[in-house]
């Protein structure tokens, strides 16, 4: 099971802070996980509607769409950061 975290607008649109998910067999990258979540339900469709504003981290390191993901990973989705 992967642990999926949502922050900021992604948390609001997904209606949760995190979920445990068994990665489907055809999900091996961040980009494929995004596609899966977008197709899964209306919340995912809304949260992941604009790929340009999706940012991700795998195991607390920033990740790209091609970054690999696997069960047991901590995977986070959030918009571009605005701290400082």
């Amino acid at each position: 099971m992967a642990r999926i975290l949502y922050f900021a607008s992604f948390r609001e649109r997904m209606g949760r802070t995190e979920e445990a998910l068994t990665l489907p067999p055809d999900v091996a990258t961040v980009g494929e996980l995004v596609a899966f979540l977008r197709e899964r339900d209306g919340a995912g469709a809304q949260a992941f509607a604009h790929p340009a504003t999706v940012r991700a981290a795998v195991n607390q390191e920033f990740a790209a769409p091609g970054s690999p993901v696997q069960d047991a990973d901590e995977i986070a989705f959030f918009p571009p950061v605005t701290g400082g």
Binding site: A8, A57, Q60, F62, P79, V81, T82, G83
Partner: protein, 155 residues
């Protein structure tokens, strides 16, 4: 070793600077930047600013940014403190402090740290407007440009 903290509580820039200098006489200059919550954004009044972060990753990101600054400049120490939670206008959000034998290194490292913080530290700001409505602050291209200066090696 850099000192990096993520906290809800406020901080005292003078006390942080004193701690950075404590017991040493080899520092020539201290650079400092304090970010503060403004009472307006885009011409509209702001009632409060709430910062969300990613516990665990945020601390790691700040430590990595500070380590990068210490690798690039001859720093004798640096301090980064970033707050989260609900803050009111006038309250400090972020502190960057750098100590170096030479002023240019302290000044450059301070600018570098705040530029990189803005694009590489997982924080998200939500503004509460005067009518109680809330909206997420959008990332600015100018912040990416400021951070990119340090990658291109032009700064």
């Amino acid at each position: 070793m850099p000192s990096v903290r993520v906290q809800a509580e406020s901080f005292d820039p003078g006390a942080e600077m004193a701690a950075l200098l404590a017991g040493r006489t080899d520092v020539g200059g201290v650079g400092c930047f304090v970010g503060v919550v403004r009472d307006s954004a885009g011409g509209q009044p702001i009632r409060s600013m709430t910062l969300e972060h990613y516990p665990g990753m945020t601390e790691r990101a700040l430590a990595a940014i500070a380590a990068e600054a210490e690798a690039r400049w001859a720093l004798q120490g640096c301090t980064v403190v970033h707050r989260y939670g609900r803050l009111l206008p006038g309250e400090p959000i972020v502190l960057v402090l750098t100590a170096s034998p030479h002023r240019q290194a302290a000044l450059d490292a301070t600018a570098f740290l705040i530029d990189w913080l803005k694009t590489r530290a997982p924080f998200w700001k939500q503004e509460e407007s005067a009518d109680g409505g809330a909206h997420w602050v959008e990332a600015r291209d100018s912040d990416d440009a400021a951070a990119a200066r340090w990658e291109a090696g032009t700064a």
